[in-house]
Amino acid sequence: MKYFMRKIVFFIVTIWIAITLNFILPRLMPGNPAQAMMSKFAQQGAITPSQEHALALMLGMPTGSLWTQYWQYLLHVCEGNFGVSYSFYPVKVITVIAGALPWTLTLVGLVTIIQFVVGTLLGVYAAWHRGRKFDSVATVLFSFTSAFPYFWIALLFIYLFGYILNWFPISGGYSGSLSPALNWSFVGSALYHSILPALTIFITGIGGSLLSMRNNMINTLGEDYILLGRAEGLSETVISIRYAARNALLPIVTNFAMTLGMVVGGSLLMETVFAYPGMGYLLSTALSNQDYPLLQALFLFITVSVLLANFAADIVYGFLDPRVRRGGAR
């Protein structure tokens, strides 16, 4: 029990630190949002001196001492009030995020899980049959695919399947003639638009989970308890899955939890290339416009979800591996 209590206290403290850092960091960045916003207009024509002043007035720059701003910020975070976004002015930050989160969670989340499951299973298979044909082909092939720069492969797919063959739409989350709604034409259009993005993340990502599972598993296969299992005459399936794979999976669980936590941040490159309406695109918009309120809220979402996922992994770990719990209790 002590183990879990400790983890909970640790979790709460990290959250507080994260929230505080989140307050400080944007204020350390150079320039102010009105200037950043001007950059958009600067590319569209001349700027007169009064314009920046007018913008600053409109956006309502933070006032008061840092201390007051901090307390106000803490209070607002608890209420889920992140203010008005600068780049989507006058829409509220929370509304902007609510519009993007489902897209990222569904597409990036699903692809991450599928990629993990498929990659891990293939990794188990490759390690078990190491040195054979599948292993040698898969290891080389997936080292290769996981080294592809994502941007390059995404643009290649767009050019090939979107532009030359005209099979898939080249950007967007759904058809421009539809508004989000729960009906077949919309869901269909969204699915259709998600094929290319999903495929590109899957291809560039699967290598990582396959290779790490394979290498872990090869390590565990050299352990004494595998030899013992063999000597006791356990079936190959039992040894490979319940002894080797289960133990090899332990470090990967943490890794996977982290990745799941990061899903909330979206896939920045994918979403930028495909103009996909998710969190990654929001993040890049917020960054380039110095949209502090949106930026803070996004970082907060990402940090909290990574911490939550980590926390969950710690808890699960405690059950999966009794040594962790005992180690603390002594």
């Binding site: 960045m29 950059s39 989507f88 058809s175 508004s179 034409s185 695109y281």
Partner: protein
């Protein structure tokens, strides 16, 4: 983000995307944009210009900074001012008259209606300006610093100034007019989304989805007969690469993209119809911090002007799309009526390394043993040149300058900070050198005033709204002040000539090349686009040009 709006299109395309889903093996692309790619819809224009983030917010609020670009097809100004040549066309106002230099009288067009059917009157005009006064955050041009009152007199609107500011006419002329019967009830003008905009313009909102919106013709429009494009479609722009694919595949009819090798990447895809026109829209210049040595030495600046190969910059960094800029500070050829013909060589400094070296040595500069340029003060000359991160053509220009100045023994470090930091270091005067853009305004006065008038500047370390290079000349201030007060064209011209001389001889900034307005369009469906031979408006699908262009386009016969 708001959804669920006018649902005509939704029903119509229900079938389309289902077909797309099942038949994605063959020709599923119909789902992205149901009309242009496969069946050319001759009555609608598809414009790739509005970038959602990545989706659109249903915001047609003319006062909100992040509004949809389509907003400028809906609201109109009093005059259309062509920033290319400064030509003024009557729009919601039919004429203007200065009475002295502190009173401007506009005559308002009769017979104009708002798109909800309410008549447009002079009262709406006066209301709009009063509205800006009540909400200083809307007064982007700072009009109420010089205005005293705006009153109506029948179909006339009278602007009274508290001090003479004749060029303010251009700002009044281009102010977007909003209806009193709608906005008088809105207390927080920028807080609302304004999804159903009521304007006098040629178009009104038809359908809206987060990835695409369409505008249809305003049935009450005062120049109804001139508007022949029935529908305008704005899809999400997306990133540069996909936007270029959409344009070259013919899905879009009009876009404003920087395309490398435009003849190959765009025109050659459909040579009969695909066209582009990249007119100069401003000046890109090297700004040197005049508050620091050696930049405060005019000889040093003069040497730099000769040592920088502007032709190479225009050719390499800008793909040869732009011309080198005259040092006079005018955007030529559009503003040629302002150019003092006595300036040598059209006011240009041509590349001449020998001359640059000669000027430096005459001014007491020399090279040390390491080949570095040493100023008369004994300090070796090196500086950093700031360009916003990601502005690749500017970065390339900066690198060419770096190479050029190496020939003089000057070490230049090109730094690429984020825009916010770039703009801050200029405002505070903490930079050494930076590339910057100015000009392209309807009257050169505005450009000169913001560039040179030391009343906007501030000491180093304090925020300067304009004149960020910290030029300070009593003579120039005097000239600007005389120009500001002059309603007489001849006096304006004389002041302009004097200021051009200042620009040419004192080099407050070193002009490099003209920044272009990117515009690619297809005449497959519509003809009558602006061109170099008929520059009736800048060819941009944003700003106020669309009002002029949409009243010029007619169907390809």
């Amino acid at each position: 983000m708001r959804r669920l709006k006018r649902n005509g299109m939704i029903v119509a395309t229900l079938g389309v995307s289902l077909v797309a889903l099942t038949g994605c093996g063959s020709n599923g692309n119909s789902a992205t944009s149901p009309s242009p790619a496969n069946t050319v819809n001759a009555s609608q224009l598809v414009v790739g210009v509005d970038n959602g983030s990545p989706t659109f917010t249903d915001n047609f609020n003319p006062f909100a900074p992040g509004n949809r670009i389509g907003t400028s097809y809906i609201y109109e100004p009093l005059f259309f001012v062509n920033t290319i040549n400064g030509k003024i066309d009557p729009w919601l106002a039919t004429g203007y008259q200065w009475e002295g230099n502190k009173k401007l009288v506009l005559t308002i067009r009769s017979g104009v209606k708002w798109n909800d059917g309410t008549p447009f009157t002079a009262k709406d005009v006066a209301f709009t300006f009063d509205y800006l006064k009540q909400h200083p955050s809307l007064d982007w041009q700072g009009l109420w610093k010089v205005l005293q009152s705006v009153t109506t007199n029948g179909n006339q609107v009278v602007f009274t100034f508290n001090k003479p500011d004749v060029p303010a006419f251009y700002e009044i002329a281009s102010t977007i007019i909003v209806p009193q019967h709608i906005w008088s009830k809105i207390a927080h003008p920028t807080k609302g989304l304004n999804s159903n905009p009521v304007g006098t313009g040629p178009y009104e909102v038809d359908t809206f989805t987060p990835y695409q919106y369409t505008l249809k013709r305003n049935p009450n429009y005062w120049q109804k007969g001139k508007v022949q494009v029935k529908k305008i479609v704005f899809p999400v722009l997306g990133n540069n690469q996909t936007a270029a694919l959409n344009l070259s595949s013919g899905k879009w009819d009009w876009a404003t993209l920087f395309l490398p090798n435009v003849k190959q990447t765009f025109v050659s895809k459909d040579p009969q119809y695909n066209q582009y026109w990249f007119p100069p829209g401003g000046i890109v210049a090297l700004s040197l911090n005049l508050g620091k040595a050696p930049f405060n030495d005019v000889h040093f600046r003069e040497a730099l002007a000769y040592a920088i190969n502007k032709t190479k910059i225009a050719q390499q960094a800008e793909d040869g799309y732009v011309a080198t800029a005259s040092q006079a500070g005018l955007v030529l050829p559009g503003q040629k009526q302002w150019l003092d013909s006595s300036l040598p060589n059209g006011g240009s400094y041509s590349y001449n390394l020998t001359k640059a070296k000669q000027i430096l040595s005459q001014a007491g500069y020399h090279l040390n043993a390491q080949g570095q340029l040493v100023a008369p003060s004994g300090k070796s000359v090196s500086f950093s040149l700031e360009v916003p991160s990601g502005w690749s053509d500017w970065i390339q220009s900066a690198q060419i300058i770096q190479g050029n100045l190496k020939e003089l023994g000057i070490q230049v470090n090109v730094s690429t900070p984020q825009y916010g930091s770039y703009s801050q270091s200029q405002a505070m005067g903490q930079y050494d050198a930076a590339l910057t853009a100015y000009g392209g305004t309807a009257t050169p006065f505005t450009s000169y005033d913001t560039l040179l008038n030391s009343k906007y500047t501030a000491p180093i370390g304090q925020n300067a709204n304009a004149d960020q290079e910290r030029f300070n000349s009593a003579q120039t201030n005097q000239l600007l002040s005389s120009w500001r007060q002059a309603t007489n064209q001849q006096i304006q011209l004389q002041d302009a000539y004097q200021i051009e001389k200042v620009m040419y001889q004192q080099l407050p900034v070193i002009n490099l090349f003209y920044g272009a307005t990117w515009s690619e369009f297809s005449s497959k469906k519509f003809v009558g686009w602006p061109s170099a031979s008929n520059p009736y408006a800048p060819p941009a699908p944003y700003g106020q040009s669309p009002l002029m262009i949409m009243t010029h386009l007619r169907p390809q016969s």
